[in-house]
Amino acid sequence: MRIAVTRTGGFAGITRRAELDTTGRHDEARLRSLAVAALSDGRPDRPAGVPDGFDYELEVDGIKAYCADPHLSAPQRELISRVLGERA
């Protein structure tokens, strides 16, 4: 499963994007379940965010969903942290 997270907005307005392939990873099962939950908690279009809040685009095997701070579900928050954390 390929998971990509793109974060835009924020006070700095700087875009960050990270992508990973779950295949063969030690946390593959966790990532797959987070990805499914995060997508189903997401919205089909970009939600209107709060001023300076981060906006997120989640893409899982080509399926996209959107969410924005500070209204993330727990799976969205963990997935975003794990995927963007890959580059932190």
Binding site: T8, G9, G10, G13, T15, D52, P70, H71, S81
Partner: protein, 372 residues
């Protein structure tokens, strides 16, 4: 996946009406109930504005509101649940945790600025309590206004450090509140870039006011103190020279244009609100630099009149805003150097402001200039 359930709709007063309207038609009550409620509130608000009540009410209420802030600082404890535990209330002394004190002092400096410079009591003009949460999330690289309060992350220490450390950042965030309670510029596209720009303008002015600087002494930088050591850059944005604030392997290069030639069309960042804000930011800088002296006195007053005068549409684009600033300058100062500086500044950034001067009613507190 076409029928993704929307469990967590975002509802705040700044949602663009067209989105609210489509949400209001959504089949899921969890989505449409709050959207319909917000639309009704908006309608009530618009009606009140049309009948002209708020200005009179606002000034009457302002007389009764104390000239002191009412601040409460919360500690989110590195979680992302707001507001967190109360750690410092109004009037309480400093605590050991410095971000708490920085937030408390920054809210105080912003309150004092709006009161002294424009006789505005807090962000809503009616003494709204000012709340802020610090230590939001783990190494969280951001600060934002959630429609009700300020939220500060600690930064990851690698790219950003503590967001409470910059008074212009605090002024920027609270000005989102001022905008929400006045022109309510929609946070998308050009009106969103104007919303961002107004926050940068007053964020910078609040720093200048705190330091007692004139326009030529000011650095015109936003977020200079939140960049971590080692990052190649001076700040996150420069109003004097948009596009030059940073150029760093981890951050990329400052993408801000200074003029309409560099206008960026994008669906990210709510339509590039933090990118294209460079254009109105630079226009303001040019007005302030031309007029000289303290930027909150004439340049800032013109922008403040524009924001709070009740004539600016919430979906205003750059040209609407430019014309409104020219009209505000004319209404307050007549056809003098202020009006000319505004027209010239917008022309320099490529925005037309010089359409036939609208016959505009004088803003709150201004001498009547046309229909004496």
């Amino acid at each position: 996946m076409t029928n993704v359930p929307a469990h967590r709709p975002v509802f705040c007063p700044i949602v663009p009406p067209h989105l609210l309207e489509s949400l209001a038609r959504h089949e899921d009550p969890e989505v449409h109930v709050p959207a319909r409620y917000t639309l009704e509130l908006d309608a009530v608000h618009r009606t009140r504005r049309r009948i002209g009540a708020p200005v009179a009410v606002e000034s009457a209420v302002a007389e009764a509101v104390a000239d002191r802030p009412n601040r409460t600082i919360y500690d989110a404890g590195h979680e992302q649940t707001l507001p967190g535990a109360e750690v410092r209330a109004e009037g309480a002394g400093p605590v050991k945790d410095q971000p708490v004190n920085h937030a408390y002092d920054g809210l105080g400096a912003t309150f004092e600025f709006y009161l002294k410079a424009y006789r505005r009591h807090s962000v809503d003009g009616r003494g709204l309590p000012l709340n802020a949460s610090v230590h939001y999330g783990q190494g969280y690289n951001n600060a934002f206004w959630d429609g009700r309060q300020m939220v500060f992350g600690d930064g990851d220490g690698r790219i950003f450090q503590d967001f409470t450390g910059s008074v212009d950042v605090i002024g920027h965030e609270l000005t989102h509140g001022v905008t929400q309670y006045s022109a309510n510029l929609q946070y998308f596209g050009q009106s969103g870039a104007l919303n961002e720009s107004v926050s940068d303008v007053f964020g910078s002015i609040i720093k200048q006011y705190a330091l007692g600087q004139t326009a030529d002494q000011a650095d015109w930088l936003i977020g200079a103190d939140v960049l971590a050591p080692g990052i190649h850059g001076v700040a996150l944005r420069s109003m004097k020279a948009p596009g030059t604030a940073y150029d760093d392997p981890a951050l990329g290069k400052d993408p801000q244009p200074a003029t309409m030639d560099g206008y960026v069309s994008t669906s990210q960042d709510n339509g590039g609100v933090h990118i294209n804000s460079g254009i109105p930011n630079h226009a303001f800088y040019l007005v302030a630099a031309t007029l000289g002296g303290h930027s909150w006195e004439r340049a800032g007053q013109i922008w403040y009149d524009t924001l709070t005068g009740g004539r600016l549409a919430s979906d205003a684009d750059f040209a609407d805003f430019a014309r409104a600033t020219a009209a505000a300058a004319h209404a307050r100062y007549g056809d003098g150097e202020e009006h000319q500086a505004v027209l010239k500044a917008w022309s320099q950034v490529g925005v037309a402001a010089s359409a036939a001067l609208p016959r505009q009613a004088a803003p709150e507190g201004a001498p009547s200039s046309s229909q004496g």
